[in-house]
């Protein structure tokens, strides 16, 4: 029973971390129809910037805020000087489907290598801002700590806040319109280029939050070659696809579903099945619903 409850906690907290990344991916997808593989690199860079701020100001929370600002700046920069040029040049043909993937992969490599050049390939570490020791209830320690509470809250908060932003505000309407039909949005007077850049900026900030929160929740280590960030990208993307790519709630649901299924398979079946489980879960979900849990029924080809 205790193990069962703990497994649920493990699933939810790890799911929350995948969700944070999934949210960032969904944001870029929703505002520009690009699957942003550079998101891992942008998050890594933002987290390094956050680490520098921690060294300077000795406050995780201030550093988190500044890292998110930096992440937003990085996102905006990537879009305005990079993706905009790309879209001007590749609008049509088979390349239009792969160019954004290739370009963002290239960017991921560029950020990695530049970071490696700048800071070297060894680790630095970020301490948890609040206790990461599990809560104890009647003598049992749960796999759930104040830090994990912060992470889950952050994922839920971002989901709610950004969902409101998207569905209830004028900015959100501009974002959605620009993503679905840039031409019509333009004709309606939406400054599509700026709106897209804004979408990237918000995603950059969300990605920075994911990086800053996941690092201390793991071992705390940070390096340009960090395995954790590549895996965060892969699992975040899988979560986003499971959730349906169009919806922030879907991103969180996808993340939590992935987290729970992984936790239960690893605990009750075999610890070796991590990657296979992720693949099988994705296939099952997509066979039942090709557009993800909360996807649009008449999904656009993109």
């Amino acid at each position: 029973m205790y193990q069962f409850i703990n497994t649920i906690f493990i699933g939810i907290t790890s799911g929350a971390i995948y969700s944070l990344m999934a949210i960032a991916l969904v944001l870029v997808w929703r505002s520009t129809r690009v699957v942003n593989f550079a998101q891992a690199g942008m998050a890594l860079l933002s987290t390094y910037i956050g680490y520098e701020f921690i060294q300077r100001f000795h406050s995780f929370w201030l550093a988190l805020f500044l890292a998110m600002v930096a992440g937003a700046g990085i996102g905006a920069l990537v879009d305005s000087i990079f993706m905009r040029t790309l879209f001007r040049r590749v609008a049509h043909g088979p390349i239009a489907g792969v160019a954004p993937i290739i370009a963002t992969l290239g960017l991921l490599g560029l950020i990695r290598a530049s970071l490696g050049l700048a800071v070297g390939n060894s680790d630095v570490s970020i301490r948890p801002p609040v206790s990461n020791v599990g809560y104890t209830i009647s003598g049992h320690t749960l796999a759930f700590s104040p830090l994990k509470l912060v992470i889950v809250s952050a994922a839920v908060f971002l989901m709610i806040a950004l969902s409101i932003l998207f569905s209830k505000t004028n900015i959100g309407l501009s974002l959605r319109a620009s993503a679905f039909s840039p031409e019509i949005a333009r004709l309606a007077g939406v400054r599509v280029d700026r709106v897209r850049t804004l979408g990237w900026a918000i995603a950059g900030a969300a990605g920075a939050a994911a990086g800053m929160l996941q690092t201390p929740s793991g071992t705390g280590a940070l390096s340009p070659d960090s395995l954790d960030f590549s895996l965060l990208l892969v699992f975040g993307f899988i979560a986003a696809v499971i959730g349906g790519l169009e919806s922030l709630i879907g991103a969180v649901l996808g993340g939590v579903l992935l987290g729970l299924v992984l936790a239960f398979v690893l605990t009750y079946m075999s610890g070796s099945l991590v990657f296979i489980t992720a693949f099988v879960l994705l296939i099952i979900v997509l066979l039942v619903r090709p557009q993800g849990i909360i996807g649009m029924n008449r999904g656009r080809r993109a």
Binding site: Y2, Q3, N6, T7, I10, G11, T13, S14, G15, I17, Y18, G116, N121, S122, D123, S125, I126, R127, N132, V133, G134, T136, T141, L142, A143, S145, Q214, P216, S217, G218, T219, G220, A221, L222, S223, D225, S226, L227, D228, S230, L231, L232, F235, G259, L262, A263, L266, T267, S270, G271, S272, L273, V274, F275
Partner: protein, 434 residues
Amino acid sequence: MFGFNRGKLLVATAVLATGGLTLSAVPAQAFSPHLEVGVSSTEIKLGVTLPMTGTASPGYNKVPGAMKAYFDYVNANGGVNGRKITLVVKDDQYVPTLAVAKTNELILKDKVFALLAPLGTANNKAVAAAVNPGRRGIPVLFVNTGYSGFANKKVYPTTFTMLPSYIVEAKIMAQYLKENYPDKKIGLLYQDDDFGDDALAGFKQAGLNFAIKVPYASGSQGVSGVPATWIGKLSAAGAEVVVLFGVSSATGAALGTAAVMKYAPKWVLGSVGGDATTIKALGVPAGVLYNATGASFLPATTDTTDEYIKLFQDINTTYNKSAVFDNNVLVGMNTAFVTVQALMAAGANPTRKSLIAAIERKGASFASAGLTPLNFSATSHVGFAGYWFGTYGPTGDLKPNGGAYTVYTTDSAGGAVVKSTYKRPAMPAKGLPN
């Protein structure tokens, strides 16, 4: 779409021509007839492939720097019979395809004399099969893996191992556990591939039973939530002693997560993932390691009373930009130290054959920081085959249990685990073999 107009033929020809140019633009390397490949009157060239970048690189990418540092120290003190040693480092990103390609470059383009300390089981196996240094007579010195298969002289005739095999380690560890924790429930975390399979074989041979065995997929330790499931299973099974037989990142993740879940069994760390510096660099607080048991075949990295450690630390400061002196650096330096002795033993004008013969003949008497003997002989290419156990102090220093190094040795086959009587000889003056 595929009409062959003239333009396309032109382009195709141009591409072919460029390809041809690139392919043929290799200067034919001139070499004197009486000197072996990779040996000139002033230089001996060695080569290493290992992950310098990528997710497998942390820790291991410090080894070449350490080896270079020791070679530079030797070079500054007259070199090997007047020749300087250079080490060509290639990044294989832990991918066998790249390991083969880079090893080919080392042999065919850089023309190295011997391969040194290549890393990784799959990589070494692919290189052995595709590049076949064995058939070409190219020495592969001191592979940096504990997979027991490479000690098979028939399959890998020019390969020498340095690390004790995982089987040896597991057998000795089993003995230690049976002696010290006879009635405790013991749990095991292991990597679910050949690394773990070797360990399981060793534990099984020694007749040790685990209350619970938790496998993990290589790489999955970086996935959020995965380490928590290990700890969940270990604690649910009530394991009081837990053996962590994985890589550093897995050990670190297990220890860190256990602290979060307030699970505090007696930890016993395998040597691969047991380097305190690496674990601490992963962000795990030193306190978590406190009182855990660790194993090594080299002196503790912080033991400055040891003459080798003291010398290597000095060399590290002078020639390695004061890199953090951890087990990777120590292993690198010690490997380089043994390599220099092998080169010296191979004669005034070493050949690949004479190098292999020298190690087979004199290898067992080579000086080294190791606390167990090197077992090289005409019939054995196995290096170290023993371990001592220690306890991590509050700052993460591994100190031998009982104050002195008590070393156990065994072999990868059915041999018994015995207490070693080996007395390490004194270090050659200034750590320079002669």
